[in-house]
């Protein structure tokens, strides 16, 4: 029962990560990020419940507040303020993107990453999912032209690392976890402020327009 719960959550996490590549509307992208974050937070809550730890429960609640409420709200404000309903296109066309995503999804199962799956053999499948999401999020960062998608790609990458750490048994102490979540919140605050500034100056968040600084 517990195994199927964690398996369901990591599958949901993985599915939302892949779906981000197919989505063009920024608002849906934010919703997908919130769902992905919720899956991670539920994993953390489950871990806290298994350990019967109040402090880890507080960490999970803090993550819930930051990742599923505050961050989507920041992004929502950015979208409505700058009317950036649609995200810009990708560098690669959808079929090629889908092929690369498929390749990245199976990459953790290759022999190169076998030592990482062996860190916690009982969670090898879940670690493979987390690593797959990790690579797919990295790809989103380089394939999207839109600044907002890049920000969400980066946050998705951070969620993948949290999921990996959870299954590999590498969770940090509560204080450090709170520090990391706080860091993510500050990062989003700064990134959205900078994105607003960029929108004012460039009239778009398409990073292709940022080509003034070349040799």
């Amino acid at each position: 029962m517990t195994l199927s719960l964690t398996y369901f959550l990591i599958s949901l996490f993985f599915f939302t990560t892949i779906s981000m590549h197919a989505v063009r509307k920024n608002a849906i992208l934010v919703v997908l990020y919130a769902v992905q974050s919720l899956a991670v937070v539920l994993l953390l809550m489950y871990g806290a419940w298994l350990d019967q730890s109040i402090i880890l429960s507080i960490v999970a609640l803090f993550a819930l507040l930051v990742k599923t409420t505050l961050i989507p709200r920041f992004f929502g404000m950015l979208i409505s303020k700058n009317l950036i309903t649609f995200s810009s296109s990708t560098y690669l066309k959808l079929p090629i993107t889908a092929l690369i995503v498929a390749g990245l999804a199976v990459l953790p199962s290759t022999h190169v990453f076998a030592p990482l799956l062996a860190i916690a053999p009982q969670h090898a499948h879940e670690i493979a999912f987390s690593l797959g999401a990790f690579f797919i999020s990295c790809f989103m960062l380089v394939n999207r032209r839109d600044g907002m998608s890049q920000m969400i790609g980066l946050l998705s990458l951070e969620n993948s690392i949290v999921a990996f750490a959870f299954f590999a048994g590498l969770e940090q102490s509560a204080m450090l976890q709170i520090g990391i979540i706080f860091d993510v919140l500050v990062w989003v605050f700064i990134a959205t402020l900078l994105a607003s500034l960029a929108y004012k100056q460039f009239g778009t968040l398409d990073t292709d327009t940022m080509r003034h600084l070349t040799e």
């Binding site: 860190i119 990062w187 460039f202």
Partner: protein, 481 residues
Amino acid sequence: MNTLLIIIGAPIVAAIVATLSKKITAIEYTSVSAIILSTGATLFLAPSVAKYGIVVFSSIFAVDALSMIGMLITSVIGLAAMIYSVGYLRDEVKKEIIGHSRVRQYFVLINLFIAAMLLACASSNPVIMWLAIEATTLSTTFLISFYNKATATEAAWKYLLINSLGLLLGFFGTLLYLTATATAPETFSTWQTLVANSAFLNPDVARIAFVFILIGYGTKVGLAPMHTWLPDAHSKAPVPISALLSGVLLNIALIAVLRFRAITDATAGGDFTQNLLIALGLFSIVIAACIILIQKNYKRMLAYSSIENMGILALGFGFGGVATIAALLHMIYHSLAKSTLFLSSGNIFLTYSSTKIAKIRGVLTSLPVTGVVFFTCILAIAGLPPFGIFFTKLYILFAGAGAHPYIVATALVAFAIVFIGFLRHATGMLFGEPTEDIIPNIERDRLLIAAPIILMTLLATLSVYLPETLATLLMNASKLI
């Protein structure tokens, strides 16, 4: 603990004062006083670290020789940058380029930036070090976009995104190393416990982890091909920030790589990390050399020189042996020379209002002191004797010549290209007659002259004389890598 509290706490207090105070003079005095206090405490701590090898403050804070070198570089260059900032910003306010609120914002952020770098050095826990290095990214983003121009925003955006991606990869690598202590009872893993437990780390996991660390923190170091953010950020930031970014921050990130390298070598042998460091080091040197030769912007030229010097450091640490000590010494010399160059380039910018090499003529006539300081440090950074950089480069190349002759030969050619590039650009800027519209009154401001002169004097002194404490720290640090 009190000493460390002063070292890190003083800039934080100055940042709080800058947030709350509305008087610019009070903010300036507090910021300079705080960094003087912090530097004094760092210098006070250095002999103890040299004597005992490591000074442990708590379960998460300990200063060893490598940390101490990083902290000394941070505080000394931080002090020079802070003094210079006062004069630089006063001039910009006078010219109505910025307003008082921007000055306040600047001092809040620069103090937080310095505190974050000191925290990164003093932390013995890899995750706290990561958090502190991430804090340097967050505190400097709005310093890079300080002038609110489209190009500055573009540079800040690239800086934030690329560095954050790099640091997340670095964080992933960090977590992989923690598998060595996953079963240990300590709440916080330290560099010392990680090295001691390296036998429990799977060598394959260590190799994968080091690749992530090198790509991740290597992005922050500015090693090619992850260097793309660096010339943009360093050229768009206000010059005291460029001095700190080039002269200090790159070294702090490199220290993080070296910490993980020691764990990897203890687990998987030295060849793997050695080859990676040599490859990225040489690539950085060659890329930087080619671009320096054709560069049109003097701030970007200095930024590419930082990439070249980070490459030299990677090469030195890759070669190992005597090259390790030479690389550590090179780190100090480069920090001093590059910061001096950035600060003196600030005087050139304030006078000529341009960063284009073609538009700068007759600096020796219009700004004689700045011109001499700039030219001296150009010669130093290009590796001309009797400056220390000549000897550190020589030792690094000698150390690698036996085992890697082709790499050394390629590096030597690249150094020659850099030398030609620097000399060509510098002579064009320094000699000739300045145009008539140039008003050379910058050097009347002692703050704008004092900081570069102090750093250059320190560089010249350390080139011929190494204090015993510093020599001991260098020897001890080389044993940690």
